[in-house]
């Protein structure tokens, strides 16, 4: 059971203004169970095209798509089911509710051939499931963004689909509604036990929602695993950047061991990592901005302990709940970005600081 996708497709992606179209080549394969899967990547990484290929709204050039043992597409045997025969639950980015039908008609639109009594029962079941009782007489134009999203979900789920596909469904909603709907989707996936594929470009959404994250970058799957694996052991630089590791050191040397772990050297600095890099000579590593700790400069704090550096604050960006500081480390041209959870330090520019990073937070990839 689950979803097995392996497809390739070349298509013209929209070129930049005035520029020529680029030929984009999508080459994706992954296998997931009946779980909540997040397809994660930047816009233009091929997430939506992958989802549309699974739904049958676009055709791949080659490959195969199998959902719960049913072959949707297989280029070798010439199988290519129409979307009408795949009947995925599909929630479109812009909701795609039928504007000329009220909520009731929208939700029962997929219940073709059901008798009226059953239809009505299913309608109210769906309204209850998504907490939108009382809205059945309204038209889409009379609904808020969150309500539209719930109606779209209800419509997608009403015919009991084999798979639920969601294309950035929450991108236009505010924080609170977003968090509530995320929980709703999680619960629904547990209740129904069907595979749910969810597209997002938000690392936070990917981490909080997924049982499994599939990371897409420029048309390829770079990594597939639990959120913990993807976020704490990114396999390469692209994944590391996508999951928010912004301080990256490329092609450093493994120079030895210390009690805390392996010693890495790059750009004139030595870092100690908790990751096992035995057997490699050169590696890349990175540190999340929120894993870097800053203290006011004090000579006594400078020690030979691992990952302790002195530096100067070059720039401060206020993010509201925290501040992003650019710190240049002494004796090198390395600038680290540090996310400092403080509302103080309004005038930190030029401040001398001590930087400390735990060995386990130095993430190694490649």
């Amino acid at each position: 059971m689950g979803v097995k996708v392996s497809l390739s497709k070349k298509y013209r992606s929209r070129g930049r203004k005035g520029g020529r179209d680029d030929v984009f080549s999508l080459d994706v394969s992954f296998e997931v169970g009946n779980e909540l899967v997040v397809l994660f990547g930047r816009s233009g990484s091929g997430k939506t095209t992958t989802l549309r290929c699974i739904a049958g709204l676009e055709a791949p050039d080659r490959g195969s798509i199998v959902v719960n043992g049913k072959t949707y597409y297989d280029s070798d045997s010439g199988i290519d089911l129409q979307p009408q025969y795949r009947r995925p639950g599909y929630v479109f980015q812009n909701y795609a509710l039928f504007p000329h039908m009220d909520v009731r008609k929208n939700i029962v639109y997929g219940l073709k051939g059901w008798d009226a009594v059953k239809k009505e029962a299913r309608l109210f079941e769906m309204l209850r499931l998504l907490h939108i009782e009382g809205l059945e007489g309204r038209y889409p134009s009379q609904l808020s963004g969150g309500q539209k999203q719930r109606v779209a979900l209800a419509r997608a789920l009403a015919p009991s689909p084999d798979i639920l596909l969601l294309d950035e469904p929450f991108s236009a909603l505010d924080m609170v509604v977003r968090m509530r709907l995320r929980e709703r989707i999680k619960t629904i996936q547990k209740e129904l036990g069907i595979p749910v594929l969810f597209i997002t470009h938000s690392p936070e959404e990917a981490f909080s929602l997924a049982d499994r994250v599939v990371v897409l970058h420029e048309g390829k799957v770079h990594q597939s695993g639990s959120p913990r694996q993807v976020f704490y052991s990114p396999v390469d630089r692209d994944v590391a950047e996508l999951v928010g590791v912004s301080n990256i050191f490329e092609d450093g040397a493994v120079v030895g061991n210390s009690p805390e772990g392996f010693v890495l050297e790059g750009r004139g600095l030595q870092f100690v990592t908790g990751s096992d890099v035995s057997g490699s000579d050169t590696v890349s590593w990175g540190v999340r901005p929120e894993n870097i700790h800053l203290m006011a400069y004090d000579k006594d704090l400078l020690s030979d302990d691992c990952n302790v550096f002195a530096g100067t604050v070059l720039d401060v960006t206020d993010k509201g709940s925290s501040k992003l500081m650019a710190v240049e480390l002494d004796g090198s041209n390395v600038v680290l970005f540090c996310d400092v959870p403080t509302r103080l330090l309004d005038d930190a520019m030029g401040l001398r600081v001590i930087v400390n990073i735990a060995a386990q937070d130095v993430l190694v990839f490649e």
């Binding site: 049958g56 709204l57 129409q82 979307p83 009408q84 599909y90 795609a96 997929g110 073709k112």
Partner: protein
């Protein structure tokens, strides 16, 4: 005198209503194909449908005569099969009105269909509805304003059709003398009284159909 006005009126209404019905059906199908389907020679189909809009009606009429005459591609076939000649009958007037008003229907309807969000059609497909069902219950209802505008324009164009009708159907009293043709005849022969009656009748009919259409548009807009 009254009969001289009523016969052209009934011929005009007969021709215009029939051609508008045909234009509505074929126009919607052609518009859907042009707006939503990809097929070979689509550009050519688009040009052929639009052509009567830019050609002088006499040229369209001439081409129809060439096509439908006893020696024409379609006309000869028809004559051999049924022994029936199309030219200079009121049926020919219907065909002339159809050909000249089709581009008005297709241009408005195709752009109305193109304006319907494709995601809505895709949504209907994923919910198990065929392309035909989706066209009938999603696409066309959402394009209904453009469709109705096209029908009104086509009807008006059919009522006012002159040049092509004169070429293919002639101006046979009691058979193919539509309002527009009769007004010209009455005016030419100095029968100003008849011309006045015909003109007033035509204006009233046109205003009535416009008012009726406006009322429908009002009721249809949700």
């Amino acid at each position: 005198m009254l009969e001289d006005a009523l016969i052209p009126l009934s011929i005009t209404l007969k021709v215009a209503v029939l051609s508008t019905c045909l234009v509505a059906v074929f126009g919607i199908l052609i518009s859907y194909a042009l707006a939503r389907r990809d097929f070979r020679g689509k550009w050519l189909a688009d040009i052929l449908v639009t052509l009567p809009l830019v050609l002088p009606p006499t040229v369209t009429g001439y081409l129809l005569v060439v096509l439908l005459g006893k020696n024409g591609a379609i006309g000869s076939f028809l004559f051999e099969m049924t022994g029936w000649s199309l030219l200079f009958t009121w049926h020919a007037a219907v065909i002339a009105a159809f050909v000249v008003s089709l581009p008005l229907m297709v241009k408005t309807t195709a752009s109305a269909i193109s304006a319907v969000d494709r995601e809505l059609e895709y949504a209907a497909y994923t919910l198990g509805h065929s392309e035909l069902e989706t066209m009938l219950f999603v696409t066309l209802p959402l394009a209904k304003k453009g469709i109705l505008a096209g029908i009104v324009l086509s009807f008006a164009r059919a009522v006012g059709e002159f040049g092509a009708t004169l070429m293919v159907a002639g101006n046979i009293p009691g058979k193919t003398n539509t309002m527009s043709l009769s007004i010209y005849t009455a005016f030419q022969s100095g029968n100003d009284a008849l011309a006045n009656i015909l003109v007033i009748t035509l204006v009233v009919v046109s205003l009535l159909s416009m008012a009726l259409a406006a009322k429908f548009v009002d009721r249809w807009s949700v």
